[in-house]
């Protein structure tokens, strides 16, 4: 048998993320796929792909923990689960030092989790029942603008004069976008306005601490959002190497801790100031 591996499965509303770690919390493999309509099947595909990347098989799994909306749909590999907020916090605790605010912008919801000096959660917030400030908002707008989602980051960067969008509501924002198109505004400027709107909606949920880390699918695919957030906050914002995997990795770290194979945060592996955006 090869070395044991620890698996975190984050079955999100939009994407399924699986991370495979060794006992030292090193990322060995991962996979990300649209969650689709059968969470179990998608999770199975992601699990096998990430294990293959790690050079492991299902027999090598020492422990696995699931999280996300579909966390109870993966009983073929684990019955242990934690909330996505818990997993995000766990990832932050083991990867970033000091008092931090984690801002995760996902497909369906966004979360702000604050950790104290000891890495304990001091508070968390989730967006309310609307899509504003989430990936779903950007998806809807990419459709309205007839722009591929993956092109939005580049378009926003190319903007010279941002269009400000004021509404809370995705439907109202869509109307605002149409109005701006009618008035001849450039798509680049509108897209930057949409990014600005996402950050505004998120930052009005809570007051961030000095050190801010941004994660989630929207952050992974739109690095410019982090740069804009840093500009708005007037200080650097950390964007980790794998922003979309934070929840899955946090779940995998729970899997390690549950087996007693790993202690507290390793200072050598903490994200350093040099990695700030």
């Amino acid at each position: 048998m090869s070395k044991p591996v620890y698996v975190g499965l984050d079955i999100g509303s939009s994407r399924t993320k699986v991370a495979v770690l060794d006992a030292d919390r090193q990322l060995l493999g991962y996979a990300i796929k649209k969650s689709g309509t059968d969470f179990s099947v998608t999770a199975g595909i992601c699990l096998d792909a990430s294990l293959e990347m790690a050079g492991a098989t299902r027999q090598d799994i020492a422990n696995a923990v699931s999280t996300g909306y579909g966390k109870s749909n993966v009983e073929f590999v684990t019955t242990e689960s934690k909330t996505e907020i818990g997993c995000l916090a766990n990832w932050g605790r083991h990867n970033v030092s000091g008092i931090i605010t984690l801002i995760d912008i996902g497909g369906q919801d966004n979360k702000i989790v604050k950790l104290d000096q000891e890495g304990r959660r001091s508070s968390f917030k989730m967006n309310r029942k609307c899509a504003a400030g989430t990936g779903a908002f950007l998806e809807e707008m990419s459709y309205r603008l007839d722009v591929p989602l993956e092109d939005m980051d580049g378009l926003a960067r190319a903007s010279k004069e941002m269009v400000k969008l004021g509404s809370y509501c995705t439907v109202f924002s869509a109307t605002e976008v149409l109005e701006n198109i009618r008035n001849g505004k450039k798509v680049t400027d509108i897209v930057k306005g949409l990014f600005y709107s996402v950050i505004k909606r998120v930052l009005e949920m809570d007051l961030p601490t000095e050190k801010v880390v941004m994660t989630g699918g929207v952050v992974a695919h739109n690095a410019y959002i982090v740069e804009m957030a840093a500009e708005m906050l007037g200080r650097p914002v950390i964007r980790p190497e794998y922003p979309q995997l934070a929840g899955a990795m946090g779940a995998a770290i729970y899997a390690i801790n549950e087996k007693g194979d790993a202690g507290s945060a390793d200072p050598n592996r903490l994200i350093s100031e040099g990695e700030l955006q």
Binding site: V65, Y69, E75, T79, E80, S81, K82, T83, E84, I85, G86, D109, R120, R121, S122, S123, F124, M126, R128, K129, Y254, E258
Partner: protein, 417 residues
């Protein structure tokens, strides 16, 4: 602790519940009989309106908010609310109001299903409100007044009080007294002051027993949950001022006190103790109760259940004491008062965390909108969670978000312990 599949914990039943069902059944049949036979005049009263005066004048009393809660608990409300929306009552206003009016428009009531023989809510002879809770009750009764051609009278209460001083008490006392002549005319009975004193005394006794019932949850483990409380408060809402309610709470209290002596908690292996501020989500009562139970968490105290505690009742001074009682309520008070009140509750019930239910259609019973959670967190160090939802309109609810929020909150509390 990582959540794992494990045998489901079972809800503990409160034996007195059977008696309560009988008490409530007798009440509903009683008011129905009054309305259908005309033996007794029927008054509709807001839940913290001057019920004692109505009983003393011989009215059978129906509480539309209780009906609203039944519409919510039976999950009929969400389908009925649009009916009221369509006639101009916004989906953003009280969903008790919109559900109740929607039910009237459609000619349905959960009472008919629960109590064979009852066809409809009891037809009122008069509608009596107090705006101590909100303006919506006045507008609610106003609609029925126009629809049925019956009078709607009431008390326009001062609100947001820090101290309940002599002036507002005098004001409300005068307003209650001003209701006497029209109510005498409608009931055909002259007010007997001794009868009023007796009713106020019974309300006081009921309220004191209800307080003791709720305070049994100070014990660790607590013998009842907030969700039990929302059911067992029924007699305190609809039957205060009667001997029946007093007798019921004596039975309930004895059972809960015995459970405290036996160390029998309502939640097996109680690990976390929460405070619930705001309205229950009636259509999710069972679901929420189960969820907390499986998390070995007990919601041991609440603003809502405690709102039927009226320490000021005094039969020696019935009008003024009623005025004071109905002004001292949490919902009538300033945020400054609310903050101090909740601080006391946190200490007395040894609370680990507070859940604020921000009910979309009930701003007056949602206390998370003016910075209270943050202020209280800073003052006490007790963490809080705001849940977006509604008392009756399930269109305003995301079950999955609620579940995630609650689980993450319990995780946070347990990590901090």
């Amino acid at each position: 602790m990582i959540e794992q599949s494990k045998p489901k914990l079972l809800r503990k039943t409160i034996k007195a519940g059977e008696l309560m069902n009988q008490v409530m059944s007798d009440y509903f049949y009683g008011v129905n009989e009054a309305a259908t036979t005309g033996k007794q005049k029927v008054a509709w009263c807001t839940s913290v309106g001057p019920a004692e005066l109505l009983r003393a004048l011989g009215f059978a009393v129906h509480f539309p908010e209780n009906h609203g809660a039944l519409l919510g608990a039976t999950r009929m409300a969400t389908d009925l609310i649009p009916g009221a929306n369509a006639i101009g009552y916004s989906p953003d206003i009280c969903s008790y109001l919109t559900a109740d009016i929607g039910a009237y428009l459609k000619g349905v009531t959960p009472l008919a299903k629960a109590y064979p023989g009852i066809q409809s809510v009891p037809k009122p002879d008069v509608l009596v409100y107090s705006t101590n809770q909100c303006r919506d009750v006045q507008d609610w009764f106003g609609w029925y007044s126009r629809e049925l051609g019956i009078p709607s009278i009431g008390i326009k209460s001062p609100r947001n009080l820090n101290e309940v001083g002599a002036a507002p008490i005098e004001d409300v006392s005068q307003q209650i007294q001003a209701l006497v002549p029209p109510l005498e005319a409608i009931s055909g009975n002259k007010l007997d002051l001794d009868r009023l004193r007796e009713t106020v005394a019974l309300s006081k006794e009921c309220t004191e027993l209800w307080k003791q019932v709720l305070e049994t949850a100070k014990a660790i483990p607590a013998p009842l949950t907030f969700f039990d409380g929302t059911i067992h408060m029924g007699p305190a809402v609809v039957l205060r001022g009667t001997q029946v309610a007093v007798d019921y709470y004596k039975v309930l209290l004895a059972e809960l006190q015995q459970n405290v002596r036996d160390g029998a908690g309502a939640v097996e292996g109680e690990k976390v103790r929460l405070y619930w501020d705001g309205m229950p989500v009636w259509g999710r009562l069972r679901q929420h109760s189960e969820h907390f139970l499986q998390l070995r968490t007990n919601v041991v105290a609440s603003t809502y259940c405690s709102s039927w505690i009226f320490p000021a009742f005094d039969e020696k001074d019935p009008f003024r004491s009623m005025a004071q009682a109905y002004l001292e309520l949490f919902i009538v008070r300033s945020d400054e008062y609310k903050e101090q009140y909740m601080k006391r509750m946190i200490e007395e019930f040894r609370i680990d965390g507070i859940i604020y239910h921000d009910a979309k259609t009930c701003p007056n019973n949602s206390n998370s909108r003016y910075g209270l959670p943050k202020r209280l967190e800073t003052a006490t160090g007790v963490p809080s969670l705001v849940l977006s939802g509604d008392l009756n309109d399930l269109r305003c609810i995301s079950d999955e978000q609620t579940k995630t929020n609650i689980e993450a909150f319990i995780e946070q509390i347990e990590e901090g312990k």
